[in-house]
């Protein structure tokens, strides 16, 4: 199975708690960079990075233009910009909202799939719209994997449901299980993450 080079996460407005459970359950030696598109008010929630940093064992920052991707870092889409994955870097865009969203989860997922193909894992968390479902389908089409929060336990089930209607996920479950799946999949902790022969 291909190594994971990037994890992209989508959550809607109010998904902060979901993000807290997910990031809070990851070890501090989690390998790949994590890029998060969370729907937020166009002109509000400055300081989301500080909120998230408070519960993340991994360093958190808001995406600046042409942000180089570093392993084990968490990047948050700024309010009112799309985040686009480029090769080893993140770019921003002020293109119009996609499905009423900016940042758009579909835009993030789609661009990650194009660049990293089978080395992407997409995570669809709680969401009150179908944003993310199309992007998730693109990740799967290009050989990557998608895991989805259980609509039963998600605060807003629409996004997980819309995603499950389009793809077969690698895992569905409450957030703690998704976090455990990610840790297993990435193979962090102990010897596993280190190449045997140097």
């Amino acid at each position: 199975m291909s190594p994971v080079e990037i994890v992209v996460v989508g959550a809607s407005l109010g998904g902060l708690r979901a993000l807290e459970s997910l990031l809070g359950a990851l070890p501090s030696d989690f390998g790949p960079p994590i890029v998060v598109a969370q729907h937020r008010q166009a002109d509000g929630t400055a300081g989301l990075d500080a909120l998230v940093a408070a519960f993340s064992p991994l360093p958190v920052q808001e995406v600046a233009d042409r942000q180089p991707l570093r392993p084990g870092h968490v990047y948050l889409a700024p309010a009112d910009y799309h985040v686009i994955v480029e090769r080893r870097a993140l770019a921003l865009s002020t293109e119009g909202p996609v499905a009423y969203a900016r940042p758009s989860i579909d835009v993030l997922f789609d661009s990650a799939a194009f660049v990293y193909a089978e080395r992407v894992v997409g995570v669809v968390l709680t969401g009150a719209s179908s944003d993310g479902a199309k992007g998730a389908a693109e990740i799967v089409r290009l050989g990557g994997q998608v895991i989805v929060e259980d609509p039963q336990t998600a605060r807003s089930p629409e996004a997980p449901r819309a995603t499950l209607a389009r793809i077969r996920p690698a895992a569905v479950g409450p957030i703690e299980e998704l976090a455990a799946w990610l840790v297993r999949r990435v193979g962090c902790g102990r010897e596993v993450s280190w190449p045997v022969e140097l």
Partner: protein
């Protein structure tokens, strides 16, 4: 083995080569991620299945090329986007501008013009408008036509009024436009000192010297190479102590000209050329 994504990348390269050779518009140094998205939107709008099919139509059909340019260059903008920037501009830049008898402003990449009209309002309220000439340029003639008309959806005006207030505006916002059922038409008097014209940051040079340049959320669409070239043009186009305003997520750091600017307001991305 090649995958479907790498085929698309090859096709995109070929399409951009073709467009550059056929029409002289060079998009090869645009940031790939967002460029690919927008080319794909054009492809879908044209009802075509692949970039190769789009390339064929583009090369043979100049009308299709017109739509392509529009599709690639339309960036949704808005009046008084990021009001803190206008607030900082009023506080820090306006006092400097008062010392000049004549003020030239360049909006590079003005799209449909909302930000130009915003600045025109601000300059009018600061009683500087009559001393100004505002050059608003974009690569796309189609968006310039819309910018010249100055007709914006009426539905947006409530939000614009709030942003106008947050940007330090104190007048009755509705005096700046005439509204009908659907549209708000910007007042003719705001347009008096605005010159809209076609200019490509990719292929054209500096065309004048300016006291102020707005280039907000334009460079984010370019790769490092093109960005450096455009920074050269912007730098050459500024008088000494001229002011450069970038988008809120853009910085002059890491550009070849970083040490030639000082930040007047680092948060608002307002810089001043100092050498």
């Amino acid at each position: 083995m090649s995958t479907s994504e790498s085929i698309e990348e090859v096709e995109l390269d070929l399409l951009l080569d073709g467009v550059a050779r056929r029409y002289g518009y060079d998009f090869r140094d645009y940031a790939r991620g967002s460029l690919r998205r927008r080319v794909r939107n054009v492809m879908v709008d044209e009802g075509l299945p692949t970039f190769s099919a789009l390339q064929e139509r583009l090369l043979r059909d100049p009308d299709c090329f017109g739509r392509f340019i529009t599709g690639l260059s339309v960036n949704v903008t808005g009046m008084f986007r990021d009001p803190t920037v206008y607030l900082a501009f009023r506080r820090l830049v306006i006092p400097m501008l008062r010392t000049y008898p004549f003020i030239r402003v360049w909006h590079a990449g003005c799209a449909t013009g909302e930000e130009v009209y915003s600045l025109a309002i601000l300059l009018r309220e600061e009683a500087l408008y009559d001393r100004c000439l505002l050059y608003a340029t974009d690569i796309s003639e189609a968006v310039l036509t819309r910018a010249r008309r100055g007709v914006f959806p009426k539905a947006a005006m409530t939000r614009y009024e709030r942003l106008y207030r947050e940007s330090g505006g104190t007048e009755d916002f509705s005096r700046y436009f005439v509204a009908d059922e659907e549209n708000a038409i910007m007042s003719e008097s705001l347009r008096e000192k605005i010159v809209f014209s076609q200019h490509s940051l990719v292929s054209d040079r500096s065309f004048n010297e300016f006291n102020v340049i707005f280039c907000r959320n334009v460079l984010i669409y370019f790769n490092q190479n093109l960005r450096s070239r455009v920074h050269e043009i912007l730098y050459e186009s500024l008088v000494n102590f001229g002011v450069l305003v970038l988008g809120l997520k853009e910085v002059v750091a890491y550009t070849p000209h970083a040490d030639r600017y000082e930040a007047l307001d680092p948060e608002a991305r307002i810089y001043r050329r100092v050498r």
